[in-house]
Amino acid sequence: MTQPTIPARRPPSPAPDPLRRTVDEEALARCAEEPIAVPGAIQPHGALLAVSESDLTVVVASANAAEALGTDPTGATLADLLTPAELDRLRAALAGDLAEAEPLRVAPGGAELDLVLSRSGGLLVTEWEPVAGAEQAGAAWHRRLPTVLQRLSAPTTLEGLTAVLAREVRALTGFDRVMVYRFDAEWNGEVVAEDRRDDLEPFLGLHYPAGDIPAQARALYATNWMRLIPDATYTPVPLEPPLVPGTGRPLDLSGVMLRSVSPVHLEYLANMGVTASMSVSLIDRGRLWGLISCHGYSGAHRPSHADRTAAEFLGRTASLLLHTTVGAAERDGVVAVAQREAELVAAIGRTPRTPAAALVDGDLTVLDLLPATGAAVRLDGRLHLLGSTPPAGRVAAVVPAVLRAGGATDRLTLTLPGFDDVADDASGVLAVEVGGGRGDYLAWFRPETPREVSWGGDPRTSKVTGGRLSPRWSFARWTETVRGTARPWREHEVGAARALAGHLGEAVLARAGEDDRLSAALQRTLLLDGLPEVPGVALGARYRPSEADVVGGDWYDLVPLPSGRLAVVLGDAAGHGLTAASVTAQLRHALRAALLRDEGPGAALAELNRLVAALLPGEMATAVVVQLDPATGELALASAGHLPAVHAGHGTARLVTDGRGPALGLLDVADYPQVTMRLDAGDRLLLYSDGLVERRDRPLPEGLEMVRAVVAGGAGGPQEVVDAVFTGLDPAGTDDVTVVGLALV
């Protein structure tokens, strides 16, 4: 953008300038070697004479000097150009600090000139700039200076400070556009404030790659507070002779206001339609922080020396305020994050049973904790997404990967392979585990930086007018430099995320303990304290809860029916924990009611299925119902997706595969055919839940065959058979196990 604009005066602060100690020496050296310091020419809005300080003899002169001064200075001394009074003032100035000297007002050829002094290469450099033709904001502005300074120091935010700065510098200098431009750590720049003519397209929010302002220019800017190009279409005026006699080197113009700038920079300005430009450095504790960049688009524009000095003064003042303002804003940010963390923790505390809802459904969500564009909450294995995030399946893959890689990244795709598809939404990922060992987590996402920036109004789609290149092309190049990166996560943000996850983990743990107690208690009510005495029927039963401290969905029931028959039920609701336990309770009672209508097992299951479809959507259960007439041994069986019962008698056993219908909850309406058979004296029927046969190291068909074989070979009453099955199958402890056996006596 604003490259080495022009000459800059020596910093008017007292030497040694503290800045010089902190400026990168190497960069300065490189800068000194670049032609930008020794262009061999000046801009034409003034004339330059380099004189020997001892006798004031002219050694080097700009080619326009004779015209500007009304006298050919070749071979002359300053004494030939100035009146004795002017000469006295010059000598007085030379005795003091040139950087602090006001320009001398002189009139060698009749016209008034501002004479500015500096030193370079052992010579005294004199710049002669006509007073006429310079625009002057007038005394009115200068009378306002105290107010302006007051306004500059009032804002507590960086946005406020830079906005005041842009507005006041524009009011002072009359440029068409004044921008405040801030460098990031890699020297990419961003327009953070702007004041402009109403008809101009806004540049606020635009970003520029570091290459737009080369290192040697930045080094120059860190020591020179101001550059000016009153007419960007100017023709450079050569210095004569080009090499300083005696040294054989060109004159170093880095401290010269009139310094001619790089032709590349002039082309750059022309491409943007800029006809006049000025820039003032913003320097925070010795480091170039940014620039005040001024553009004119309506021909030549040259603010007066006094106004330039005032603008530079504003820049210097703002530079001193930067540190405290930025610091205050950051403290505000830290406080805000801490406050929201406290509010979210309080919300969890108010609804400890539903922490996910507290984080996701409230006015304040986990997404508000810190600046991010998306958030994910995984609790109890359920994933909740807020804002802009990758799709759920990708979040489920990305977050654990980031957790393994340390928990935070501001360049996901550059750090971890395989996530290129989520760069848009999640170039930045901050992830924290929620304790409890269930793989739960909280995560925040930040988009790829260009996308985040473009939300302010996509600069890439703005039109490029008049066929001219615009800074928007720079924006595109800047975009390439930040591809794949997001705004970094700050330490206090990571801290707040961890603290929130910590509180959440405690709440989840407390709730899990409470759930376990509740569901265990609930399930105890589902199990029979003892088997009822049913005349003519022998019963055996055994229930073993899972070892994993989660309650399963098994239940069994014995229901004496009005007809004198006995209904035996064994069921299993899918899922675990409190939900499964409560579903189980409802199923048990509903099935009992259906059975008491005494219309047979198939009808009871069809009724139960209708109830599940209507009242427990999303739930699924299996059940087998047997109805036995103790008097005749007649037995009806119906199964809703349940594992086959085993019927044993006469030394053999078979799996009962008839009388089957779909699992409960699968279809809204289903018929359940029932099979009838006879339980002879000595026969046994065994019902069981999947926990008995389901083992990961043993295929299910093998498990079924083992049950069949054990029942076939088992001796004794139903309880003995049940116990033998338990022993023989050695079920895994991960699920609850229920086995019921019956026989006639």
């Binding site: 799709p391 899922g575 909850g665 699968l666 295929p699 068909p701």
Partner: protein
């Protein structure tokens, strides 16, 4: 076998291949993938259980849930589970899952058949 879900395509139609043990602990991951796959309202979706080593009731319940969602959304869902995968196929057959969603030996949907 480590549980994993891979996104793929057969005949240009989306497929989720489920590898490993589909149970209470792994259902959430499959659920996340299913959410993504159904989000754009595709004409079809195949869930391939060929390499699924184990299916528990939670996994089965999720398949049922997915089948119902797909039906409501007008997405033709197909579950691939060859008879050779006995442990998983047996569960599916016991639950009679095929009464809710086509359970096939290999992905048979083609673009022309979707919705037919």
């Amino acid at each position: 076998m480590l549980f994993a879900v891979a996104r793929g395509a057969v005949n240009g139609l989306p497929v989720l291949r489920v590898r490993g043990e589909l149970d209470l602990s792994t259902v959430p991951l499959l659920a996340a993938y299913v959410d993504d796959a159904l989000a754009p309202g595709p004409r079809s979706l195949v869930i391939d259980l060929t390499d699924t080593a184990f299916l528990d009731s939670s996994g089965a319940r999720h398949l049922v849930h997915t089948a119902k969602r797909a039906a409501e959304a007008g997405t033709a869902l197909q579950v691939v589970c060859p008879r050779g995968n006995v442990p998983v196929r047996l569960i599916i057959d016991l639950l009679e899952l095929q009464r809710l969603v086509p359970v096939v030996e290999s992905a048979t949907l083609t673009d022309g058949e979707v919705g037919s």
